[in-house]
């Protein structure tokens, strides 16, 4: 692996992506929105009168009460809502690299820039790693940054009990472990989809549709069958890593000089 070449690809990808308004706005405004909305929500939840919360209303969020030793029923609800926003933070590393990876590959296909690129001594693994890092790196960094911002500012709008959960090892582990794995999955799927279509938006829509089933794993959580704890995150990370392996196996197989030049449509 020649890291100089990987670095050259990463710089090229970033320089190209940041000149694309769609990619730029997706990378800047979507994370901002995803950070501000939960804070606004937590702020207004903090204004709920205590007497309106009944233990029976806790429903699916009861699991958090025991796990994080929460006394106040309102804190339980707040933590429950925060757990839903945690999922939004895990959607970010899926969406952002998908937008970048599909834009990168589809625009290379459309402009026919892959052939001269592949005629250089670059190895396809270097090209793939460069494109992967360029797409996944900012997405993971932005996700982590947004989460830190969110958890840091949460103290201003909600109770300390909620802040404690946001900074708990469980949730930091979740964000820390799952974000890169989600991003890798998105890049892999982005490559698979981009090899078959010639339009960035179609690729993004198909990619989004492909990752949609992943959201199904959150249903047990909404139904109160699953709390987002360290164990859940570790098991989830393991399963996601397996899925990443499968997706990348096919992505690498598709991303060969010969295949790109003769099979990609």
């Amino acid at each position: 692996m020649n890291w100089m070449r990987v670095r050259a690809i990463v710089w090229k990808e970033w320089a190209d992506a940041f000149r694309n308004r769609l990619v730029f706005f997706t990378l800047v405004f979507m994370p901002l929105l995803f950070t501000i909305l939960p804070l606004v929500n937590l702020y207004f939840m903090g204004r709920l009168p205590t007497e309106e919360v009944d233990a029976n209303d806790l429903g699916p969020f009861l699991l958090y009460q025991a796990r994080f030793h929460l006394g106040d029923p309102q804190d339980v609800i707040r933590v429950g809502m925060a757990s839903i926003y945690l999922i939004i933070f895990l959607i970010l590393p899926l969406m952002l690299p998908m937008v970048m990876a599909t834009d990168s590959i589809v625009s290379e296909k459309v402009s026919k820039s892959l052939e001269p690129l592949l005629a250089t001594p670059i190895r396809v693994t270097e090209l793939l790693v460069g494109k992967g890092l360029a797409a996944a790196g900012p997405a993971v960094a932005v996700t982590w940054l947004c989460y830190v911002l969110y958890a840091g500012l949460a103290g201003l709008v909600t109770s300390q009990a909620v802040v404690r959960v946001l900074w708990s090892v469980d949730w930091l582990l979740g964000i820390g472990l799952l974000s890169p794995l989600m991003a890798m999955l998105a890049v892999g799927i982005g490559i698979l989809v981009s090899s078959r279509v010639n339009d960035t938006r179609t690729a993004q829509q198909i990619g989004g549709f492909v990752v949609l089933p992943l959201m199904l794993i959150f249903i047990p959580m909404f139904l109160g069958r699953l709390a987002l704890t360290a164990t859940v995150f570790v098991v989830g990370a393991f399963l996601l890593a397996l899925l990443d392996g499968v997706v990348w196996f096919f992505a690498v197989a598709l991303f060969q000089r010969e295949t790109i030049l003769t099979r990609w449509k």
Partner: protein, 313 residues
């Protein structure tokens, strides 16, 4: 393999899903020559270039490019050749300079030399003033020049140019021709795929006519001679049957035809034999108005060779 050969292909074959794109191609490209690859659409020119630049692997057969064997040292081959693809494939949102800097790094040009090398080629191709502009804002001709600069940046031993003037206006094509002639003057080996036969005639030392198989490879003049021999046309004020007979009787004349007021005379050595021919006609009282060598365009040569190739299949 000749000492002077920079590319030697032996029985190079490529099939796609049962369809043969290139079949048993034997081809030698000599150092410092411009070789034209001619052939109809789908003849296998691009596939040949892709194989020889180690972009795709042959189904069978092999080739040595710049001393490196296909399939064994593909990275080295890519390091030693440059390719201008049919479509420039530039990063249109990125600046002209960035496009070249990227390739300079991919070709492993030392970081301290990247700037100077990029500047040199941008100046050489008249793009220095536009270096900060996005590549997408350049005219087609300028984009093509930028793509040529990109292919030349690492100073390859062999340059493959696939349809370098397709879709260019005459002015743009002329700029590209001038640059190819300059490279030819420097002794650079160039493989030129083109449908533009005038371009091939003007720029190429040898022509390879391809239609899946190699039909013929030689210098344009030698191809003309091989197909048609040499002939002169003698225009007379008045033609008489005895002129025809007298010319036919000359020992060095291979054939003579009457076409209107002209005698079409086939002979091997017009420079040596024309005086004797003219003398004989004048002796018979013929009044010669014009005498010129018969010319065949490369287009005629090409079409006849393709037809010949089809007939031989």
């Amino acid at each position: 393999m000749g000492d002077n050969a920079v590319i030697v292909a032996e029985k190079l074959t490529r099939r796609f899903d049962g369809r043969t794109a290139v079949e048993a191609l034997d081809l030698e490209v000599r150092r410092g020559e411009v070789l034209g690859l001619l052939g109809p659409n789908g003849a296998g020119k691009t596939t040949t270039v892709r194989m020889l630049t180690a972009l795709i692997a042959p189904s069978s057969g092999t080739a040595t490019v710049c001393g490196f064997r296909l399939g064994e040292a593909d990275d080295e081959i890519r390091r030693h050749v440059g390719i201008l693809t049919e479509i420039p494939g530039l990063y249109e949102r990125l600046s002209v300079q960035f496009n070249l800097e990227l390739y300079a790094r991919l070709y492993g040009i030392p970081e301290r030399e990247v700037g100077a090398r990029v500047e040199r080629y941008l100046r050489l191709l008249g793009l220095w003033e536009r270096r900060r502009d996005p590549a997408g804002t350049l005219s087609k001709g300028m984009k093509q020049k930028l793509a040529i600069a990109r292919a030349m940046l690492h100073e390859p031993e062999v340059l493959f140019l696939d349809e370098p003037t397709a879709s260019l206006d005459p002015e743009g094509a002329q700029l590209v021709h001038a640059f190819i002639e300059q490279l030819r003057g420097e002794g650079r080996t160039i493989v030129l795929c083109t449908h533009n036969l005038a371009e091939a005639d003007r720029l190429c030392d040898r022509i390879a006519v391809l239609k899946q198989r190699l039909i013929r490879v030689d210098a344009p003049e030698r191809l003309r001679q091989a197909l048609y021999g040499r002939a002169i046309r003698v225009q007379l004020r008045q033609v008489r049957p005895e002129y025809l007979e007298a010319v036919r009787a000359l020992p060095f004349v291979r054939d003579v035809q009457l076409q209107g007021q002209e005698l079409q005379v086939r002979l091997d050595d017009p420079e040596g034999m024309n005086p004797a021919l003219v003398r004989r006609l004048v002796e018979l009282g013929a009044e010669i108005q014009f005498i010129r060598e018969e010319e065949h365009s490369l287009e005629e040569v090409y079409l006849d060779l393709v037809r010949q190739g089809e007939a031989e299949r």
